[in-house]
Symmetry: none
DNA sequence: CAAATATATGCAAAAAACTGCAAATCATGC
DNA sequence: GCATGATTTGCAGTTTTTTGCATATATTTG
């Protein structure tokens, strides 16, 4: 096996899952972890991915990981995604925004579930396309390289023409008083449009992001119907959100 | 065995598999690894492949087909794609339909080329997103599972709002009298809309499809400005297309 | 803080690349 | 037909790269 092939494989994995574990790769390719470590080191130097403790993450998605150090939060994201699955009923029409938590959700959708899914996220569309019982409708528009979702007037226009049962709104920052915030203006516009197109807004959010704020405001907390975190319902970090007419899962 | 033959063989292998091992080639051709090494060195100098430790990889190797479908007659398609590259000028606005030949084209777009690309194809969008100098605009709509392009009214609507310099129209069947045909009605509608949105229509088409017809008609041959095949210009298979006011590449 | 896990470093074996050289092959001119 | 020179090919020795392992250090997590 050529070094190039290995590195390509790693990049592919990162491209698909947005994260890889050193040990996973070493296992799949039957090479030592040292070798994979060295490969990732090179790819990192070549700025093709980001090396982190335990593995690597995709460059485009460090938006969702401002610290860039917690790739193990995947477990948390899976937990959140699993809870989110419980909100979906067969035959519904849903809207999935970008972000790694939502990508996990898309991955975990059971094959037998019949759905119509709207999404502006390229990786999520790829994921959903693999599921035979899901009708995928892609929100067109200009693709943002960082977030890998479509943005801009055309996308917002298309969103304005739909009304879905549930929207899973990837959440960068949520604060009990300040509401949902983002640092990218274009994504703010997209998320506003998504909220407007949905009867029910679900906000999957890992606990690190609870209480944080960013530059631009999307909406107040009252616009969110359901907040999903990986925490147990009685966790103190959730106290601030408990009297805001939000369902907490 | 002539040096020329060997090098052709190597290029062919690289074209098909995207990578070759030095030892494999030496073994298959019954020559020493040194000879193969020298060949690869020359081909590398001629920029026909990339020499790496242990073998060689194709030039567009650092790319990935996320949907994982196998592409047949890749070598021919690469040749077509390479010819198609010659039609694109820096700064243009282009529209790329679906199909594996066009995916090859997307793969081979040089990183330094500045372009605005519209596409309804998911794999092509993924491919283009990796190129920093290309602005990608995705034609939204319902994603068709088998063709992996968006179809339907919404997509056609979005197409109706644009006008691009060149459209690379993946071609299933082309016949000198019957024109371009397709077997999927929805794709026919998409292609019609694409032609309508383009100042120049380029039809990349491998020779097997020349002269064949399908169920539904997209347009007459006169709508196509350029026909690209892998054949040499004087090939008899092209004779039937020579008096139709089409540029043949 | 301590256990578990991940990283960095030095090292040695294996694989591959480079170098120089000689034999074989081929084209060319006489 | 044959000598000449250029090119090609394979071989042996040396150098470089890659890879896995062992050990020491650093980081994460409960």
């Amino acid at each position: 096996m050529l070094k190039e092939e290995r590195q390509q494989f790693i990049l592919n994995e990162v491209g698909i899952h947005n994260r890889v574990l050193l040990t996973d790769i070493a296992d799949q390719l039957n090479v030592s972890v040292d070798t994979v470590r060295r490969d990732i080191k090179e790819l990192h130097a070549a700025k093709l991915l980001k090396k982190v403790h335990g593995g690597a993450v995709s460059l485009g998605f460090n938006n969702y990981n401002p610290t860039g150090k917690k790739i193990y939060s995947l477990d948390k994201k899976s937990q959140i995604a699993e809870k989110a699955l419980g909100l979906i009923k067969d035959g519904q029409v849903i809207l999935i925004s970008g972000g790694t938590t939502n990508l996990e959700l898309a991955r975990m959708l059971p094959p037998k579930l019949k759905l119509t899914c709207f999404t502006p996220s390229l990786p999520i569309a790829v994921q959903l396309l693999g599921k035979n019982n899901i009708e995928v409708i892609f929100i067109g528009g200009r693709l943002s390289k960082d977030s890998q979702i479509t943005v801009g007037g055309s996308a917002i226009n298309m969103l304005s023409e739909i009304k879905v049962d549930i929207c899973f709104l990837g959440t960068n920052s949520i604060h009990p008083m300040e509401g949902l915030t983002e640092f990218d203006w274009e994504i703010v516009q997209m998320k506003k449009a998504m909220i407007h197109s949905s009867r029910k807004v679900v906000s999957p959010c890992i606990s690190e992001k609870l209480g944080s704020t960013q530059r631009y405001k999307i909406c107040g907390v009252e616009e969110v119907d359901v907040l999903i975190t990986e925490l147990e319902p009685w966790d103190v970090k959730l106290d601030a959100f408990k009297n805001l007419n939000i369902q907490i899962v």
